[in-house]
Protein backbone atom coordinates (compact mmCIF):
# COMPACT_ATOMS: atom_id res chain seq x y z
CA UNK A 1 0.00 0.00 0.00
CA UNK A 2 2.83 2.34 0.91
CA UNK A 3 4.69 1.37 -2.24
CA UNK A 4 1.65 2.05 -4.40
CA UNK A 5 1.16 5.47 -2.83
CA UNK A 6 4.85 6.25 -3.17
CA UNK A 7 5.04 5.37 -6.87
CA UNK A 8 1.88 7.34 -7.52
CA UNK A 9 3.34 10.36 -5.73
CA UNK A 10 6.59 10.12 -7.67
CA UNK A 11 4.77 9.66 -10.95
CA UNK A 12 2.70 12.76 -10.22
CA UNK A 13 5.77 14.79 -9.20
CA UNK A 14 7.75 13.79 -12.28
CA UNK A 15 4.89 14.52 -14.69
CA UNK A 16 4.07 17.85 -13.01
CA UNK A 17 7.65 19.11 -12.81
CA UNK A 18 8.30 18.14 -16.43
CA UNK A 19 5.15 19.96 -17.58
CA UNK A 20 6.23 22.95 -15.50
CA UNK A 21 9.63 22.90 -17.14
CA UNK A 22 7.96 23.21 -20.53
CA UNK A 23 5.46 25.90 -19.45
CA UNK A 24 7.72 27.60 -16.94
CA UNK A 25 10.76 28.44 -19.07
CA UNK A 26 8.93 30.49 -21.73
CA UNK A 27 6.71 32.09 -19.09
CA UNK A 28 9.73 32.99 -16.95
CA UNK A 29 11.48 34.38 -20.03
CA UNK A 30 8.49 36.56 -20.80
CA UNK A 31 8.31 37.77 -17.19
CA UNK A 32 12.03 38.53 -17.15
CA UNK A 33 12.24 40.43 -20.44
CA UNK A 34 8.81 41.73 -21.38
CA UNK A 35 8.21 45.46 -21.18
CA UNK A 36 4.45 45.11 -21.29
CA UNK A 37 2.67 47.39 -18.87
CA UNK A 38 0.34 44.70 -17.66
CA UNK A 39 3.18 42.38 -16.75
CA UNK A 40 2.47 42.93 -13.05
CA UNK A 41 -0.94 41.39 -13.61
CA UNK A 42 0.56 38.12 -14.85
CA UNK A 43 3.17 38.21 -12.07
CA UNK A 44 0.42 38.48 -9.46
CA UNK A 45 -1.57 35.70 -11.10
CA UNK A 46 1.42 33.35 -11.21
CA UNK A 47 2.26 34.06 -7.55
CA UNK A 48 -1.30 33.57 -6.34
CA UNK A 49 -0.87 29.90 -5.31
CA UNK A 50 1.86 30.93 -2.85
CA UNK A 51 -0.60 32.81 -0.66
CA UNK A 52 -3.88 31.08 -1.47
CA UNK A 53 -4.98 28.17 0.78
CA UNK A 54 -4.79 24.95 -1.25
CA UNK A 55 -8.46 24.37 -0.55
CA UNK A 56 -9.43 27.54 -2.43
CA UNK A 57 -7.35 26.64 -5.47
CA UNK A 58 -8.47 23.02 -5.27
CA UNK A 59 -12.11 24.05 -5.06
CA UNK A 60 -12.00 26.21 -8.17
CA UNK A 61 -10.02 23.66 -10.15
CA UNK A 62 -12.57 21.05 -9.12
CA UNK A 63 -15.39 23.26 -10.32
CA UNK A 64 -13.51 24.08 -13.53
CA UNK A 65 -12.87 20.46 -14.47
CA UNK A 66 -16.17 19.14 -13.16
CA UNK A 67 -19.11 18.19 -15.38
CA UNK A 68 -20.74 21.61 -14.81
CA UNK A 69 -18.02 23.58 -16.61
CA UNK A 70 -17.48 23.77 -20.39
CA UNK A 71 -13.95 22.38 -20.01
CA UNK A 72 -15.20 19.46 -17.93
CA UNK A 73 -18.02 18.72 -20.37
CA UNK A 74 -15.67 18.93 -23.35
CA UNK A 75 -13.23 16.50 -21.71
CA UNK A 76 -16.04 14.15 -20.76
CA UNK A 77 -17.35 14.08 -24.32
CA UNK A 78 -13.83 13.38 -25.57
CA UNK A 79 -12.76 10.71 -23.10
CA UNK A 80 -16.01 9.40 -21.71
CA UNK A 81 -15.25 10.20 -18.10
CA UNK A 82 -14.86 13.25 -15.87
CA UNK A 83 -11.53 14.83 -15.00
CA UNK A 84 -12.44 15.17 -11.36
CA UNK A 85 -11.09 12.46 -9.05
CA UNK A 86 -8.63 11.19 -11.69
CA UNK A 87 -4.86 11.28 -12.02
CA UNK A 88 -5.13 13.73 -14.96
CA UNK A 89 -7.24 16.08 -12.87
CA UNK A 90 -4.64 15.85 -10.15
CA UNK A 91 -1.92 16.79 -12.65
CA UNK A 92 -3.85 19.91 -13.71
CA UNK A 93 -4.37 21.05 -10.13
CA UNK A 94 -0.75 20.35 -9.17
CA UNK A 95 0.64 22.19 -12.17
CA UNK A 96 -1.31 25.29 -11.20
CA UNK A 97 -0.42 24.92 -7.54
CA UNK A 98 3.33 24.50 -8.16
CA UNK A 99 3.55 27.07 -10.96
CA UNK A 100 5.12 29.88 -8.89
CA UNK A 101 7.70 27.53 -7.42
CA UNK A 102 8.92 26.69 -10.90
CA UNK A 103 8.55 30.11 -12.54
CA UNK A 104 9.93 32.44 -9.88
CA UNK A 105 13.48 31.03 -9.60
CA UNK A 106 13.67 30.75 -13.37
CA UNK A 107 12.52 34.31 -13.95
CA UNK A 108 14.90 35.60 -11.28
CA UNK A 109 17.90 33.94 -12.86
CA UNK A 110 16.92 35.01 -16.39
CA UNK A 111 16.49 38.60 -15.22
CA UNK A 112 19.91 38.50 -13.54
CA UNK A 113 21.68 37.87 -16.85
CA UNK A 114 23.56 40.97 -17.96
CA UNK A 115 21.55 42.64 -20.75
CA UNK A 116 24.81 43.57 -22.43
CA UNK A 117 25.36 39.88 -23.19
CA UNK A 118 22.00 39.71 -24.95
CA UNK A 119 22.80 42.88 -26.90
CA UNK A 120 26.20 41.45 -27.78
CA UNK A 121 24.59 38.26 -29.01
CA UNK A 122 22.21 40.18 -31.29
CA UNK A 123 25.05 42.35 -32.60
CA UNK A 124 26.93 39.17 -33.46
CA UNK A 125 24.10 38.21 -35.77
CA UNK A 126 22.22 35.82 -33.50
CA UNK A 127 18.46 35.47 -33.77
CA UNK A 128 16.33 35.64 -30.63
CA UNK A 129 16.02 31.88 -30.61
CA UNK A 130 19.78 31.41 -30.86
CA UNK A 131 20.32 33.96 -28.10
CA UNK A 132 17.85 32.06 -25.94
CA UNK A 133 19.43 28.67 -26.65
CA UNK A 134 23.08 29.67 -26.39
CA UNK A 135 23.06 32.49 -23.82
CA UNK A 136 19.88 32.74 -21.75
CA UNK A 137 19.30 29.06 -21.13
CA UNK A 138 22.86 28.06 -20.17
CA UNK A 139 23.38 31.15 -18.00
CA UNK A 140 19.94 30.74 -16.40
CA UNK A 141 20.43 27.02 -15.84
CA UNK A 142 20.87 27.27 -12.04
CA UNK A 143 17.46 28.95 -11.83
CA UNK A 144 15.89 26.39 -14.17
CA UNK A 145 17.28 23.59 -12.00
CA UNK A 146 16.02 25.25 -8.83
CA UNK A 147 12.60 25.67 -10.40
CA UNK A 148 12.54 22.02 -11.39
CA UNK A 149 13.61 20.78 -7.94
CA UNK A 150 11.25 23.09 -6.08
CA UNK A 151 8.23 22.17 -8.18
CA UNK A 152 9.07 18.49 -7.81
CA UNK A 153 9.44 18.75 -4.04
CA UNK A 154 6.36 20.90 -3.72
CA UNK A 155 4.27 18.36 -5.62
CA UNK A 156 5.55 15.49 -3.50
CA UNK A 157 4.51 17.33 -0.37
CA UNK A 158 1.13 18.71 -1.41
CA UNK A 159 -2.01 17.69 0.38
CA UNK A 160 -4.88 20.12 0.22
CA UNK A 161 -5.22 20.36 -3.54
CA UNK A 162 -4.96 16.59 -3.91
CA UNK A 163 -7.64 16.05 -1.36
CA UNK A 164 -9.98 18.54 -3.00
CA UNK A 165 -9.53 17.37 -6.59
CA UNK A 166 -8.45 13.78 -6.34
CA UNK A 167 -10.16 12.50 -3.28
CA UNK A 168 -8.66 9.30 -1.99
CA UNK A 169 -8.68 6.57 -4.63
CA UNK A 170 -5.92 3.94 -4.19
CA UNK A 171 -3.67 3.75 -7.27
CA UNK A 172 -5.29 6.76 -8.91
CA UNK A 173 -5.25 9.68 -6.51
CA UNK A 174 -4.09 8.42 -3.12
CA UNK A 175 -0.70 10.06 -2.78
CA UNK A 176 1.56 9.44 0.15
CA UNK A 177 0.46 12.53 2.07
CA UNK A 178 -3.17 11.40 1.79
CA UNK A 179 -2.17 7.94 2.96
CA UNK A 180 -0.58 9.36 6.11
CA UNK A 181 -3.73 11.36 6.78
CA UNK A 182 -5.76 8.17 6.32
CA UNK A 183 -3.60 6.20 8.68
CA UNK A 184 -3.79 8.87 11.37
CA UNK A 185 -7.58 9.04 10.96
CA UNK A 186 -7.68 5.27 11.50
CA UNK A 187 -5.54 5.76 14.61
CA UNK A 188 -2.86 3.51 13.09
CA UNK A 189 0.00 5.62 14.39
CA UNK A 190 2.66 2.98 13.76
CA UNK A 191 1.79 2.78 10.04
CA UNK A 192 1.53 6.56 9.82
CA UNK A 193 4.95 6.81 11.38
CA UNK A 194 6.47 4.38 8.86
CA UNK A 195 4.95 6.23 5.92
CA UNK A 196 5.90 9.64 7.21
CA UNK A 197 9.44 8.52 7.94
CA UNK A 198 9.74 7.06 4.45
CA UNK A 199 8.57 10.32 2.87
CA UNK A 200 10.88 12.34 5.10
CA UNK A 201 13.91 10.22 4.26
CA UNK A 202 13.09 10.18 0.57
CA UNK A 203 12.61 13.93 0.32
CA UNK A 204 15.77 14.65 2.25
CA UNK A 205 17.84 12.25 0.13
CA UNK A 206 16.43 13.71 -3.07
CA UNK A 207 17.09 17.32 -2.12
CA UNK A 208 20.56 16.51 -0.77
CA UNK A 209 21.43 14.75 -4.02
CA UNK A 210 20.13 17.58 -6.18
CA UNK A 211 21.77 20.37 -4.22
CA UNK A 212 24.99 18.39 -4.05
CA UNK A 213 24.85 17.98 -7.79
CA UNK A 214 24.15 21.65 -8.31
CA UNK A 215 27.25 22.64 -6.40
CA UNK A 216 29.30 20.39 -8.60
CA UNK A 217 27.73 21.66 -11.81
CA UNK A 218 30.32 23.77 -13.53
CA UNK A 219 29.58 25.55 -16.78
CA UNK A 220 31.02 22.52 -18.54
CA UNK A 221 28.05 20.35 -17.81
CA UNK A 222 25.59 22.84 -19.22
CA UNK A 223 27.56 23.94 -22.19
CA UNK A 224 25.46 23.89 -25.32
CA UNK A 225 27.00 23.27 -28.67
Amino acid sequence: MILQALTLTLRLAVVVSCILLVIGIPLACWLAYSRQRWKFFVEALVSLPVVLPPTVLGFYVLVAIGPLSPVGRWYQRLSGHSLAFTFQGLVIGSVLYSLPFAVQPMATSFAAIDRKLLDASALLGASRWRTFRRIILPLGMPGVLSGFVLSFAHTVGEFGVVLMIGGNIPGATRTISILIFDQVEALDYAAANRTALLLLAFCFALLAALYGLRHRVSWNVWEWK
Binding site: A120, S121, A122, L123, G125, S127, R134, L139
Partner: protein, 386 residues
Protein backbone atom coordinates in the same frame (compact mmCIF):
# COMPACT_ATOMS: atom_id res chain seq x y z
CA UNK B 1 22.74 50.66 -63.42
CA UNK B 2 24.10 53.97 -62.26
CA UNK B 3 27.23 54.19 -60.15
CA UNK B 4 26.73 54.23 -56.39
CA UNK B 5 26.47 57.80 -55.15
CA UNK B 6 29.10 57.39 -52.43
CA UNK B 7 32.05 55.11 -51.67
CA UNK B 8 30.84 51.66 -50.62
CA UNK B 9 32.40 51.99 -47.17
CA UNK B 10 31.15 55.47 -46.33
CA UNK B 11 28.97 55.70 -43.26
CA UNK B 12 26.37 58.42 -43.42
CA UNK B 13 24.35 59.26 -40.36
CA UNK B 14 21.52 61.70 -39.90
CA UNK B 15 19.57 61.12 -36.72
CA UNK B 16 17.17 62.88 -34.44
CA UNK B 17 16.14 61.27 -31.21
CA UNK B 18 14.57 62.75 -28.12
CA UNK B 19 14.90 60.96 -24.87
CA UNK B 20 12.71 62.17 -22.08
CA UNK B 21 13.01 60.98 -18.55
CA UNK B 22 10.45 61.08 -15.82
CA UNK B 23 12.52 63.47 -13.75
CA UNK B 24 11.79 66.32 -16.15
CA UNK B 25 15.17 65.83 -17.78
CA UNK B 26 15.08 65.70 -21.51
CA UNK B 27 17.72 65.31 -24.13
CA UNK B 28 17.67 65.53 -27.88
CA UNK B 29 20.24 64.03 -30.17
CA UNK B 30 20.38 65.81 -33.50
CA UNK B 31 23.43 64.98 -35.52
CA UNK B 32 24.39 64.52 -39.15
CA UNK B 33 27.76 63.47 -40.48
CA UNK B 34 29.43 61.12 -42.87
CA UNK B 35 32.75 59.41 -42.41
CA UNK B 36 35.01 57.24 -44.50
CA UNK B 37 37.11 54.23 -43.65
CA UNK B 38 39.52 54.80 -40.79
CA UNK B 39 39.26 56.15 -37.28
CA UNK B 40 36.80 58.87 -36.42
CA UNK B 41 36.84 60.05 -32.84
CA UNK B 42 33.56 60.98 -31.20
CA UNK B 43 34.55 63.33 -28.43
CA UNK B 44 32.28 64.81 -25.81
CA UNK B 45 31.45 64.96 -22.11
CA UNK B 46 29.30 62.23 -20.60
CA UNK B 47 25.69 62.92 -21.46
CA UNK B 48 26.56 64.54 -24.76
CA UNK B 49 24.90 61.73 -26.70
CA UNK B 50 27.86 59.67 -27.86
CA UNK B 51 26.52 56.33 -26.68
CA UNK B 52 22.99 57.09 -27.91
CA UNK B 53 24.48 57.84 -31.30
CA UNK B 54 26.34 54.52 -31.39
CA UNK B 55 23.22 52.69 -30.19
CA UNK B 56 21.29 54.21 -33.10
CA UNK B 57 23.91 53.08 -35.61
CA UNK B 58 24.00 49.56 -34.15
CA UNK B 59 20.21 49.30 -34.01
CA UNK B 60 19.95 48.88 -30.24
CA UNK B 61 18.01 52.14 -30.19
CA UNK B 62 15.73 53.48 -32.87
CA UNK B 63 16.00 57.16 -33.89
CA UNK B 64 12.81 59.22 -34.18
CA UNK B 65 13.72 60.29 -37.69
CA UNK B 66 16.71 60.21 -39.98
CA UNK B 67 18.75 57.92 -42.14
CA UNK B 68 21.75 55.70 -41.42
CA UNK B 69 23.52 54.02 -44.31
CA UNK B 70 26.72 52.26 -45.19
CA UNK B 71 27.51 53.03 -48.81
CA UNK B 72 24.17 52.77 -50.59
CA UNK B 73 22.81 50.29 -48.03
CA UNK B 74 20.29 51.86 -45.68
CA UNK B 75 20.31 50.44 -42.15
CA UNK B 76 17.65 52.87 -41.01
CA UNK B 77 15.54 55.26 -42.99
CA UNK B 78 12.48 56.83 -41.44
CA UNK B 79 11.31 58.12 -44.83
CA UNK B 80 11.03 54.65 -46.36
CA UNK B 81 10.34 52.86 -43.05
CA UNK B 82 13.56 50.84 -43.19
CA UNK B 83 14.84 49.61 -39.85
CA UNK B 84 17.21 46.67 -40.16
CA UNK B 85 17.32 44.53 -36.99
CA UNK B 86 20.61 44.70 -35.02
CA UNK B 87 21.45 41.08 -35.85
CA UNK B 88 21.29 41.82 -39.59
CA UNK B 89 23.20 45.10 -39.65
CA UNK B 90 26.69 43.65 -39.69
CA UNK B 91 27.88 46.35 -37.34
CA UNK B 92 30.61 45.53 -34.83
CA UNK B 93 30.04 47.17 -31.45
CA UNK B 94 32.40 47.08 -28.51
CA UNK B 95 31.19 48.52 -25.26
CA UNK B 96 33.05 49.64 -22.18
CA UNK B 97 32.71 46.18 -20.68
CA UNK B 98 33.79 43.47 -23.10
CA UNK B 99 30.50 41.52 -22.60
CA UNK B 100 32.14 38.19 -23.36
CA UNK B 101 29.92 35.18 -22.78
CA UNK B 102 31.17 33.85 -19.43
CA UNK B 103 30.22 30.24 -20.06
CA UNK B 104 32.20 29.94 -23.28
CA UNK B 105 35.92 29.86 -23.96
CA UNK B 106 37.59 32.68 -25.84
CA UNK B 107 37.55 30.53 -28.98
CA UNK B 108 33.83 29.76 -28.62
CA UNK B 109 33.16 33.45 -28.05
CA UNK B 110 35.01 34.35 -31.23
CA UNK B 111 33.22 31.66 -33.22
CA UNK B 112 29.81 32.66 -31.88
CA UNK B 113 29.13 35.13 -34.66
CA UNK B 114 30.16 32.74 -37.44
CA UNK B 115 27.26 30.31 -37.16
CA UNK B 116 26.40 30.47 -40.84
CA UNK B 117 29.87 29.36 -41.99
CA UNK B 118 30.87 25.71 -42.31
CA UNK B 119 33.11 24.29 -39.62
CA UNK B 120 36.36 24.44 -41.59
CA UNK B 121 36.04 28.07 -42.60
CA UNK B 122 34.80 29.05 -39.16
CA UNK B 123 37.86 27.55 -37.51
CA UNK B 124 40.21 29.01 -40.08
CA UNK B 125 38.87 32.53 -39.66
CA UNK B 126 38.80 32.18 -35.90
CA UNK B 127 42.41 31.02 -35.62
CA UNK B 128 43.54 33.78 -37.94
CA UNK B 129 41.94 36.56 -35.91
CA UNK B 130 43.13 34.99 -32.64
CA UNK B 131 46.68 35.18 -33.98
CA UNK B 132 46.18 38.70 -35.27
CA UNK B 133 45.05 39.91 -31.87
CA UNK B 134 47.62 37.78 -30.02
CA UNK B 135 45.22 35.69 -27.97
CA UNK B 136 45.84 32.24 -29.44
CA UNK B 137 47.52 31.24 -26.18
CA UNK B 138 44.41 31.92 -24.10
CA UNK B 139 41.88 30.66 -26.66
CA UNK B 140 40.83 27.69 -24.53
CA UNK B 141 40.32 29.74 -21.39
CA UNK B 142 37.14 31.37 -20.19
CA UNK B 143 36.77 35.14 -19.84
CA UNK B 144 37.05 34.86 -16.05
CA UNK B 145 40.51 33.37 -16.36
CA UNK B 146 42.23 35.99 -18.52
CA UNK B 147 43.43 39.56 -18.00
CA UNK B 148 41.43 42.70 -18.74
CA UNK B 149 43.54 43.47 -21.81
CA UNK B 150 43.06 39.95 -23.14
CA UNK B 151 39.32 40.25 -22.56
CA UNK B 152 39.13 43.41 -24.66
CA UNK B 153 41.28 41.75 -27.32
CA UNK B 154 38.91 38.78 -27.33
CA UNK B 155 35.88 41.06 -27.59
CA UNK B 156 37.53 42.93 -30.46
CA UNK B 157 38.40 39.68 -32.23
CA UNK B 158 34.84 38.43 -31.72
CA UNK B 159 33.41 41.56 -33.35
CA UNK B 160 35.95 41.74 -36.19
CA UNK B 161 35.95 38.07 -37.17
CA UNK B 162 32.52 38.68 -38.70
CA UNK B 163 34.06 41.29 -41.02
CA UNK B 164 31.58 44.03 -40.07
CA UNK B 165 30.92 46.97 -42.35
CA UNK B 166 31.23 49.46 -39.49
CA UNK B 167 32.99 49.20 -36.15
CA UNK B 168 31.72 51.10 -33.10
CA UNK B 169 33.97 51.39 -30.07
CA UNK B 170 32.49 52.93 -26.92
CA UNK B 171 35.46 53.76 -24.70
CA UNK B 172 36.59 50.15 -24.90
CA UNK B 173 40.06 50.75 -23.54
CA UNK B 174 39.52 53.24 -20.74
CA UNK B 175 39.99 50.63 -18.03
CA UNK B 176 43.36 49.51 -19.38
CA UNK B 177 46.79 50.96 -18.75
CA UNK B 178 48.31 52.99 -21.54
CA UNK B 179 50.91 50.45 -22.70
CA UNK B 180 48.28 47.74 -23.17
CA UNK B 181 45.96 50.26 -24.77
CA UNK B 182 48.39 51.47 -27.39
CA UNK B 183 49.40 47.91 -28.31
CA UNK B 184 45.75 46.98 -28.86
CA UNK B 185 45.24 50.10 -30.95
CA UNK B 186 48.25 49.23 -33.08
CA UNK B 187 46.80 45.79 -33.75
CA UNK B 188 43.44 47.34 -34.57
CA UNK B 189 45.08 49.74 -37.00
CA UNK B 190 46.91 46.88 -38.66
CA UNK B 191 43.61 45.04 -39.05
CA UNK B 192 41.92 48.16 -40.41
CA UNK B 193 44.59 48.68 -43.05
CA UNK B 194 43.73 45.23 -44.44
CA UNK B 195 39.99 45.82 -44.19
CA UNK B 196 39.22 49.51 -44.47
CA UNK B 197 35.91 50.21 -42.74
CA UNK B 198 34.72 53.25 -40.79
CA UNK B 199 35.56 53.02 -37.09
CA UNK B 200 33.70 55.32 -34.72
CA UNK B 201 35.70 55.59 -31.53
CA UNK B 202 34.03 57.24 -28.55
CA UNK B 203 36.20 58.79 -25.91
CA UNK B 204 36.28 61.63 -23.46
CA UNK B 205 40.02 61.38 -23.00
CA UNK B 206 41.98 64.08 -24.68
CA UNK B 207 45.13 62.04 -25.14
CA UNK B 208 43.28 59.43 -27.17
CA UNK B 209 42.04 62.05 -29.61
CA UNK B 210 45.58 63.00 -30.51
CA UNK B 211 46.85 59.43 -30.49
CA UNK B 212 44.16 58.16 -32.85
CA UNK B 213 42.54 60.99 -34.58
CA UNK B 214 42.46 61.31 -38.27
CA UNK B 215 39.04 62.83 -37.91
CA UNK B 216 37.30 64.23 -34.84
CA UNK B 217 33.62 64.90 -34.25
CA UNK B 218 32.95 66.92 -31.11
CA UNK B 219 29.50 66.43 -29.57
CA UNK B 220 27.86 68.76 -27.11
CA UNK B 221 24.36 68.22 -25.70
CA UNK B 222 23.41 66.03 -28.63
CA UNK B 223 24.75 68.35 -31.33
CA UNK B 224 27.90 68.28 -33.38
CA UNK B 225 29.90 71.41 -32.56
CA UNK B 226 33.03 70.74 -34.58
CA UNK B 227 34.36 68.26 -37.08
CA UNK B 228 37.68 67.88 -38.83
CA UNK B 229 41.24 66.80 -38.12
CA UNK B 230 42.26 67.24 -34.47
CA UNK B 231 44.55 70.05 -35.58
CA UNK B 232 41.77 71.89 -37.42
CA UNK B 233 39.28 71.45 -34.63
CA UNK B 234 41.71 72.71 -32.03
CA UNK B 235 42.95 75.62 -34.09
CA UNK B 236 39.96 77.70 -33.15
CA UNK B 237 38.37 76.19 -30.12
CA UNK B 238 35.16 78.10 -30.08
CA UNK B 239 32.91 75.70 -28.25
CA UNK B 240 33.33 74.54 -24.71
CA UNK B 241 33.62 70.86 -25.58
CA UNK B 242 36.40 71.64 -27.98
CA UNK B 243 37.95 73.86 -25.32
CA UNK B 244 38.06 70.94 -22.92
CA UNK B 245 39.52 68.93 -25.74
CA UNK B 246 42.20 71.54 -26.15
CA UNK B 247 42.87 71.45 -22.42
CA UNK B 248 41.66 74.78 -21.08
CA UNK B 249 41.76 74.50 -17.33
CA UNK B 250 40.24 77.95 -16.95
CA UNK B 251 36.92 78.68 -18.61
CA UNK B 252 34.85 81.72 -17.59
CA UNK B 253 31.72 83.47 -18.71
CA UNK B 254 32.55 86.92 -19.95
CA UNK B 255 30.91 89.87 -21.60
CA UNK B 256 32.07 91.97 -24.50
CA UNK B 257 32.95 95.54 -23.50
CA UNK B 258 34.77 97.25 -26.36
CA UNK B 259 36.72 96.48 -29.52
CA UNK B 260 40.04 98.15 -30.32
CA UNK B 261 40.60 97.39 -34.00
CA UNK B 262 43.62 99.65 -34.20
CA UNK B 263 45.29 97.61 -31.43
CA UNK B 264 43.97 94.30 -32.69
CA UNK B 265 42.34 93.51 -29.36
CA UNK B 266 39.00 93.62 -27.63
CA UNK B 267 38.12 94.04 -23.97
CA UNK B 268 35.95 91.56 -22.14
CA UNK B 269 34.82 91.63 -18.54
CA UNK B 270 34.98 88.33 -16.69
CA UNK B 271 31.63 87.50 -15.15
CA UNK B 272 31.15 88.31 -11.48
CA UNK B 273 34.36 90.33 -11.33
CA UNK B 274 35.77 93.68 -12.35
CA UNK B 275 38.55 92.03 -14.25
CA UNK B 276 38.95 93.39 -17.77
CA UNK B 277 40.71 91.02 -20.11
CA UNK B 278 42.32 91.98 -23.41
CA UNK B 279 41.73 89.28 -25.99
CA UNK B 280 42.60 89.14 -29.68
CA UNK B 281 40.05 90.83 -31.87
CA UNK B 282 37.74 88.12 -33.19
CA UNK B 283 34.34 87.67 -34.66
CA UNK B 284 31.66 87.00 -32.09
CA UNK B 285 27.91 86.88 -32.01
CA UNK B 286 26.78 89.34 -29.35
CA UNK B 287 23.42 87.64 -28.98
CA UNK B 288 25.00 84.50 -27.61
CA UNK B 289 26.83 83.80 -24.38
CA UNK B 290 30.55 84.35 -24.62
CA UNK B 291 33.24 82.52 -22.71
CA UNK B 292 36.97 82.73 -22.47
CA UNK B 293 39.36 79.81 -22.07
CA UNK B 294 42.91 80.13 -20.74
CA UNK B 295 45.37 77.25 -20.45
CA UNK B 296 46.87 76.97 -16.98
CA UNK B 297 50.31 76.66 -18.50
CA UNK B 298 49.94 79.95 -20.41
CA UNK B 299 49.73 82.10 -17.28
CA UNK B 300 52.91 83.59 -15.84
CA UNK B 301 53.36 84.53 -12.20
CA UNK B 302 55.60 87.44 -11.25
CA UNK B 303 56.79 89.09 -8.06
CA UNK B 304 57.40 92.01 -7.67
CA UNK B 305 55.21 93.87 -10.22
CA UNK B 306 56.64 93.39 -13.71
CA UNK B 307 57.11 96.24 -16.17
CA UNK B 308 58.14 96.59 -19.78
CA UNK B 309 56.09 93.59 -20.92
CA UNK B 310 54.43 92.93 -24.25
CA UNK B 311 51.64 91.08 -22.43
CA UNK B 312 48.38 93.01 -22.27
CA UNK B 313 46.95 91.46 -19.13
CA UNK B 314 48.71 92.02 -15.81
CA UNK B 315 46.67 91.60 -12.62
CA UNK B 316 47.48 91.42 -8.92
CA UNK B 317 46.41 88.25 -7.14
CA UNK B 318 46.84 86.06 -4.10
CA UNK B 319 47.92 82.42 -4.06
CA UNK B 320 45.17 80.35 -2.46
CA UNK B 321 46.72 76.89 -2.58
CA UNK B 322 49.56 74.92 -4.10
CA UNK B 323 49.43 71.27 -4.98
CA UNK B 324 52.34 69.26 -6.28
CA UNK B 325 51.70 66.53 -8.83
CA UNK B 326 54.79 64.76 -10.18
CA UNK B 327 56.84 67.54 -11.79
CA UNK B 328 53.90 69.92 -11.91
CA UNK B 329 52.79 72.47 -9.35
CA UNK B 330 49.13 73.43 -9.59
CA UNK B 331 48.47 76.83 -8.05
CA UNK B 332 45.06 78.33 -7.44
CA UNK B 333 45.28 82.09 -7.59
CA UNK B 334 42.56 84.55 -6.59
CA UNK B 335 42.41 87.73 -8.68
CA UNK B 336 38.71 88.51 -8.78
CA UNK B 337 38.19 85.04 -10.25
CA UNK B 338 39.97 81.88 -9.27
CA UNK B 339 42.56 80.88 -11.87
CA UNK B 340 44.42 77.62 -12.13
CA UNK B 341 48.10 78.14 -12.95
CA UNK B 342 50.61 75.41 -13.77
CA UNK B 343 54.27 75.95 -13.01
CA UNK B 344 57.40 73.96 -12.27
CA UNK B 345 58.67 73.32 -8.73
CA UNK B 346 61.71 75.46 -9.66
CA UNK B 347 59.45 78.45 -10.44
CA UNK B 348 57.60 77.94 -7.18
CA UNK B 349 60.86 77.90 -5.24
CA UNK B 350 62.38 80.96 -6.90
CA UNK B 351 59.23 83.01 -6.19
CA UNK B 352 58.93 81.53 -2.67
CA UNK B 353 55.31 80.77 -3.35
CA UNK B 354 53.01 79.55 -0.63
CA UNK B 355 49.38 80.04 0.26
CA UNK B 356 48.79 83.73 0.86
CA UNK B 357 51.70 85.01 -1.28
CA UNK B 358 50.86 88.17 -3.28
CA UNK B 359 51.76 87.74 -6.93
CA UNK B 360 51.20 89.32 -10.34
CA UNK B 361 49.51 87.33 -13.07
CA UNK B 362 50.64 87.87 -16.64
CA UNK B 363 48.55 86.66 -19.56
CA UNK B 364 49.17 87.38 -23.23
CA UNK B 365 46.15 88.50 -25.22
CA UNK B 366 46.73 85.55 -27.56
CA UNK B 367 46.45 83.13 -24.65
CA UNK B 368 42.85 84.25 -24.10
CA UNK B 369 40.68 82.11 -26.36
CA UNK B 370 37.17 83.37 -26.86
CA UNK B 371 34.61 80.55 -27.00
CA UNK B 372 31.07 80.61 -28.11
CA UNK B 373 28.70 77.68 -27.75
CA UNK B 374 27.73 76.72 -31.21
CA UNK B 375 25.04 74.35 -32.26
CA UNK B 376 26.18 74.51 -35.83
CA UNK B 377 29.41 73.13 -37.12
CA UNK B 378 30.72 76.56 -37.90
CA UNK B 379 30.04 79.07 -35.20
CA UNK B 380 28.04 82.02 -36.43
CA UNK B 381 30.54 84.50 -37.74
CA UNK B 382 28.29 87.54 -37.57
CA UNK B 383 30.38 90.64 -37.88
CA UNK B 384 33.12 92.63 -36.26
CA UNK B 385 31.93 94.77 -33.42
CA UNK B 386 33.69 97.99 -34.16
Amino acid sequence: MSAPPCPPTELTVRVRKSLSHNAGFSFALDAAFSVNAGFTILFGASGSGKTTLLDCVSGLQTPDTGRIAVGANALFDSASAVNVAPNRRSVGYLMQSPALFPHMTVRQNVQYGLAELDTREREQRCEQILRQFRISAVASRRPGEISGGERQRAALARALVRRPRVLLLDEPLTALDSAVRSQILLDLRAWNSGRPIPILYVTHQREEVFALGENVIALEAGHIVAQGSPHDVLQRPQSETVAQLAGFENIFDCEFVAAHPEQGTMSCRLAASKLLLEAPLSRIDRARPLRVGIRAGDILLASPAPHGLSAQNVFPGTVLSLEERDVLVIAKVECGVELEVHLTPAARNSLHLQAGTKVWLVIKAYSCHLLQDGRKRTVALAQFHV
